[in-house]
Amino acid sequence: MYRPFAEKNYRYPAPCRGARRLLIIAITASMLLGIATAADLLRRIAHQDDGASAWMRTMNFSAPALWTAGSPMRHPETVHPGVDLRFSAGLVTAP
């Protein structure tokens, strides 16, 4: 039985070489991107926020520094009990 792709050291015919190149690019790029993303994900998951967590614990901070200093999200304990932020929506993010 004739099996065109079974010979040793098979060379693709000229019209197929571009297609082979396209396949190599698609597979290599996908694998590289996938492996790079997975590796970065694993690296980050291990001990990503150890430093920040340790300082949070040591200094007894009430909230992380994702918001500017002075804002209620950064310092929730500074919200004055006399000021109900529900009635002044803009104050929630004001420093």
């Binding site: 200094m59 007894n60 006399g82």
Partner: protein, 385 residues
């Protein structure tokens, strides 16, 4: 599959088919990649925001006790406050905090002074500040001029900056100025023996609501108690709101997915004469389905992977993450945006399945339907007939 690998003929044929319709394939690739990017970016951001807050809020004290009077917040006498707090069963490790928000060179900064000695294992090369010195966060370090930092408006204090907190601690220290208690007190309006407030840890965290009434009654002055779960809930609400933006961004994305699937259906139906030609040369329906699925995978898998990788980079790498945060949060400032990536893998798998599976299903089913029939019937679909 490395460059030396021999690929199945059907896959090579599919790749050649892509080359024959180069423009259409490129357009499909771009559509799929941008669809995955937009959807994944918004969902990854809200998920990462929630995970970051949850992890860090877990380290926060269970309760914070602040003294209040008719004028607002009042300094807390340390010895009295400590003695009162320790009387309550379940309270462990009450810690007076010296901190406050003071004007800095480029906006407010958080000034802290640690009354207790910071353990050596924490410092990792950071020298503790002495009198007239300070250690600052990355956000404050940018505004420095000549290594000196001037803080406060009425009673300004100038300190020399001896070190900067490492970038990996930015989630806690971005806006921080760490100085000695003696330097901090004039800035915060405190005298020796006073603290800004009292951080309280509980033996059982579940008791943080129940214990508040007893704790408040133990102090000889009115106090306001803030609990950790309320702050955590506020943060969670913010993250959910960002997730809401993700849903809004997902509506046009779903429409785009429908358009892509419709385009695939129309394309496959329009090629019936081509299927008839292949069938008359001996191809089976299964061969044609394999060809189309291979073709869809050669375009679809790199597009989905590229979209996911771009979204991941846009959320978790600080320069790009700032732009993403600006876009998703509507310009609200999130200074130290190095988000925690736990749970990101699951979101990425969900997005890949959400976009990839309907696309592949559309290709499979429409090819099966379009190519199923006798060659003569299929050839009749040629517009020339």
């Amino acid at each position: 599959m490395m460059p030396g690998t021999r690929y199945p003929p059907m896959v090579i044929w599919a790749a050649r088919d892509i080359q024959r319709h180069c423009g259409r394939s490129m357009l499909l690739f771009a559509c799929l990649a941008s669809l995955v990017f937009l959807t994944a970016m918004a969902l990854l951001f809200s998920q990462a925001l929630d995970a970051t807050w949850e992890r860090l809020m877990d380290q926060a004290p269970d309760l914070v006790v602040r003294r209040i009077d008719g004028g607002g917040w009042a300094p807390l006498p340390v010895d009295v406050a400590m003695a009162c707090a320790k009387k309550i069963p379940g309270v462990i490790d009450p810690t007076p905090r010296l901190w406050g928000v003071v004007p800095g060179p480029e906006g407010p900064v958080t000034v802290v002074a640690s009354i207790a000695v910071v353990p050596e294992s924490m410092l990792k090369g950071i020298p503790p500040p002495s009198a007239g010195q300070a250690v600052v966060g990355q956000g404050v370090a940018r505004a420095l001029s000549g290594g000196r930092l001037s803080l406060g408006s009425n009673h300004s204090v100038t300190v020399s900056v001896i070190h900067t907190f490492p970038a990996d601690t930015g989630l806690a220290t971005h806006d921080l100025v760490w100085m000695t208690p003696d330097d901090a007190r004039p800035l915060l309006g405190l005298v020796p023996g006073q603290a800004s407030d009292l951080a309280v840890h509980l033996f059982r965290r579940e008791e943080e609501r129940a214990i508040q009434a007893d704790l408040a009654a133990a102090f000889p002055w009115p106090v306001r108690i803030t609990d950790r779960s309320t702050s955590a809930l506020n943060h969670h609400t913010r993250a959910v709101r960002s997730g809401g933006i993700a849903v809004v961004a997902g509506i046009p994305a779903l429409l785009a997915l429908l358009l892509i699937i419709t385009g695939t259906v129309v394309d496959n139906t329009a090629r019936q004469a081509y299927w008839g030609l292949l069938k008359s040369m001996g191809w089976t329906t299964a061969d044609m389905v394999r060809l189309q699925v291979s073709r869809a995978m050669i375009v679809g898998i790199p597009a989905v992977v590229l979209g996911l990788a771009s979204a991941y980079a846009a959320v978790f790498y600080p320069p790009a993450a700032g732009i993403t945060a600006f876009w998703v949060t509507g310009g609200q400032h999130l200074p130290a945006l190095t988000l925690v990536s736990s749970g990101a893998a699951m979101v990425m798998i969900e997005i890949a399945a959400m976009v990839g599976l309907p696309f592949l299903a559309a290709v499979f089913l429409t090819t099966l339907r379009a190519a199923d029939g006798s060659p003569w019937t299929l050839l009749q679909a040629d517009p020339w007939n």
